[in-house]
């Protein structure tokens, strides 16, 4: 089948939200792209206007690939597509104008969100550094990009209530694909809150705790306890008569003296070598 036909079919399938069909169609298209030398933008294939237009189409195909793998829960392939799109986005022939609310920023922000939901904060910042320093993006004004950035900022501050509000109301979300991350992000959010609660309070009534963790009030205590233990890895929470007590881990405090001994022995060795 020719490239045009395949591409048209892919567009149609994507419009109809048939993501798994898209996935199966993509490998043959990519092979065609390689045959036409369109998979990677180079100096040699960005000379004429036609070539640039062809590359735009290739970019769109890869974008569909990224979105459809995301929507069919295939994170690994989403990451691969993002990596393949990177040379397209950094190519000055294809992207030279100021970009605001475009597909490029959408893909980038989804990738940021993905990193955030996986807890890969250092990668997140590495990526952000590039975006902040590319003149064509405006993080504060772009509705796609500002979302993950604000999310991360609030997460680091501990301003969980703001995050909750952001995630809870769907009209806050700039596009459909974001919904996909909501459940993982809420899970991550609860995990963070639970860790903080553990350190902060000596005891807390179960009802208040449900509030803090954004669990519905009408959930029974037993179910609540069970979900806590299964999802949030809480170990030393004691449920007693409607109040949760937090047992401090004593082992940490006592410490180990062997550490001191190794240190001292090390000094002795060093001093001996000096003398």
């Amino acid at each position: 089948m020719s490239l045009q036909k395949l591409t048209a079919e892919l567009y149609a399938l994507f419009e109809q939200d048939k993501y798994s069909e898209c996935q199966s169609l993509l490998p043959p298209i990519k092979i065609e792209l390689i045959k036409h030398n369109l998979l990677v933008p180079l100096l040699s294939n960005t000379q004429t206007k036609d070539q640039v237009n062809d590359l735009r189409i290739a970019q769109r195909i890869l974008e569909i690939g990224a979105l459809s793998s995301l929507l069919s829960n295939n994170y690994q392939s989403f990451e691969n597509y993002v990596a393949q799109l990177r040379p397209f986005y950094s190519n000055s022939k294809l992207h030279h104008k100021h970009e605001l609310d475009t597909d490029a920023t959408k893909i980038k922000s989804l990738y940021l969100l993905y990193l955030l939901s996986q807890g890969l904060i250092s990668k997140f910042h590495t990526e952000l550094e590039v975006i902040y320093n590319s003149p064509q993006y405006d993080v504060e004004k772009d509705k796609f990009l500002q979302f993950p950035v604000h999310l991360e900022r609030n997460l680091m501050e501990g301003n969980y209530i703001k995050i909750w509000r952001l995630l809870k109301e769907e009209k806050n979300l700039p596009c459909q694909e974001y919904k996909h991350f909501i459940s993982t992000l809420i899970q991550a959010l609860r995990f963070e809150i639970a860790k903080s609660i553990e350190k902060t309070y000596e005891s807390i009534p179960v009802n208040n705790c449900k509030n803090l963790l954004y669990f519905p009030q009408e959930q029974s205590d037993a179910v609540f306890e069970k979900t806590l233990q299964e999802e949030l890895e809480v170990e030393n929470w004691k449920f007693d008569n409607g109040v949760i007590y937090f047992v401090k881990n004593e082992a940490e405090l006592s410490g180990n003296n062997s550490n001191v001994i190794t240190n001292v022995l090390n000094y002795a060795e060093q001093i001996e070598s000096i003398v």
Partner: protein, 487 residues
């Protein structure tokens, strides 16, 4: 500015004694040729360091006397030599047969010199530098391709220092031309060659150049990959090591690994040459170290800001805002100095400080009150609501910023009484850090001591002659290779 005036004034003086000075410079260059051949024949790279010590002043002299280099080239190469042609073309000079005037003895020396690659490459370096100083970027760029080809022809350890230097200027040219991508493959391939040949100087130089290249295009992941995959040679020159650590600090800081970033930036500042030439480097390293310290939750000492010349005003104000824990002030500072931070490439790092501002705010409150309602905290820190205050305070407790607990039902925060510090392990850890530092300092200084090699003593005949040389060389090494830091 003042330097420029100096040069201009010198220029005026030079007009009268123009011919004399041209001759003097030619003599100087040829003297360095002799040293370079000596380095080649005795395999002693210290002669090369000596030549490079004089490169800085020579560079300034060459800017005012443009006729020198063509003269040297004409004298060095036999007529119609391939390299001669393109060098002269780059300098916009024509081929003249200076060699007629030279008497036979000198001619023999000259042709002998031309055959040593050290001299040849050094001459290329001089042409490259002088073109760069005259801002003839396109010409240097064209010349660079020739030089890269030339360097590939040779495999001699005595060339290491010169090659390292030439790569530095090649990369600098590309940077000034704003063309960072095209040079990468050449750099990488020569990095491979240099590593295989155990050419430490070039390896070190190219690694730092690549890192700089990646960082300028904000390609942090590439840079950190490079750092992971390469071993920085241990015995590289101090100037290069300092630079390498500076880049490492930057990469680590962006990847949120503040404590190793801090170690690296401190090492960079310590290793940097302590002369006025390295001022620019030390300044930007200090700026970075201020930010990293703030990000780690420490407040830099006041003397850091007062020690050097240069504009630390913006960084001082940021520190002030963080120290006071005042979010509004922080916002103002960030707005006011945004351009400056962006120019220093520190903006993203500075904007991460917001959470630290809040944390110090909470810390100050926790130190001053033993018990305070969440509502009051919310008002004092200009936060949005009582609920968010509770979360933020609880996050601060979790991160170990304060020792406190919250009573949820009554809505207050209670600080824990300060324990006796000396009953904990804290002092022990602190001492441990300091002792380790002193020991490693001692070990490093032992390692970096230099001893005369055995060969020098055996060589009785040339002993008197070499003694003077030796002193000169040691001086050159002590002063180090400072030229790099001039930009």
């Amino acid at each position: 500015m003042s330097e420029k005036q100096d040069v201009l004034m010198k220029d005026a003086e030079d007009v009268s004694s123009h011919n004399d000075s041209v001759d003097a410079i030619v003599k100087e260059i040829e003297a360095s040729f002799v040293l370079l051949s000596k380095a080649a024949s005795s395999f002693d790279n210290r002669y090369v360091s000596k030549v490079f010590r004089d490169l800085g002043p020579l560079r300034r002299k060459l800017v005012t006397n443009k006729s020198v280099l063509p003269l040297v080239i004409n004298r060095l190469y036999p007529s119609a030599h391939g390299n001669k042609l393109y060098l002269l073309k780059a300098l916009d000079a024509t081929e003249t047969d200076e060699r007629m005037d030279v008497d036979e003895k000198e001619e023999a020396v000259a042709s002998a010199n031309a055959s040593t690659p050290e001299v040849e490459l050094y001459l290329h370096l001089l042409v490259q530098v002088s073109l760069l100083d005259q801002n003839e970027l396109e010409k240097v760029n064209a010349l660079n391709d020739n030089i890269i080809q030339l360097m590939k022809l040779y495999n001699r350890r005595s060339l290491d220092f010169i090659q390292a230097k030439i790569w530095f200027f090649i990369s600098r040219t590309k940077e000034l031309l704003n063309d960072l991508l095209s040079i990468r493959s050449e750099l990488l391939s020569s990095l491979r060659t240099a590593t295989l040949r155990h050419d430490t100087e070039t390896t070190a130089s190219i690694i730092t150049l690549l890192l700089r290249n990646y960082l300028l295009s904000h390609d942090i992941s590439q840079a950190s990959n490079l750092v992971e995959k390469t071993d920085f040679p241990e015995n590289a020159g101090n100037a290069l090591v300092a630079r390498y650590y500076y880049y490492l600090a930057r990469i680590n800081a962006i990847q949120l690994d503040y404590s190793s970033a801090h170690e690296c930036v401190i090492a960079a500042i310590r290793k940097a040459p302590q002369t006025h030439l390295a001022n620019g480097f030390i300044q930007s390293a200090t700026k970075l170290s201020i930010i990293i310290e703030l990000l780690m939750g420490d407040i830099p000492e006041l003397k850091v800001f007062k020690k050097q010349s240069g504009s630390f005003e913006a960084y001082f104000n940021v520190t002030k805002a963080v120290k006071l824990g005042d979010l509004n002030l922080f916002g103002e500072v960030l707005n006011k100095y945004e351009d400056l931070f962006k120019k220093d490439d520190n903006f993203t790092l500075v904007s991460r400080l917001r959470q630290n501002v809040i944390k110090t705010g909470i810390r100050i409150i926790s130190l001053s009150y033993s018990k305070i309602s969440l509502k009051d905290i919310c008002i004092k820190l200009h936060l949005d609501s009582e609920e968010s205050t509770e979360y933020i305070v609880s996050k601060a407790i979790r991160d170990g910023v304060i020792e406190a607990s919250i009573n949820h039902q009554k809505g207050y925060m209670q600080s824990k009484e300060l324990l006796d510090v000396y009953s904990t392990k804290l002092p022990q850890n602190e001492f441990d850090q300091r002792i380790k530092f002193c020991l490693s300092l001692h070990n490093d200084s032992v390692k970096s001591m230099r001893y005369p090699s055995d060969n020098d003593n055996k060589d009785d005949a040339s002993k008197d002659d070499s003694k003077e040389d030796e002193i000169d060389l040691l001086k050159a090494i002590e002063e180090g290779d400072l030229d790099d830091f001039m930009d």
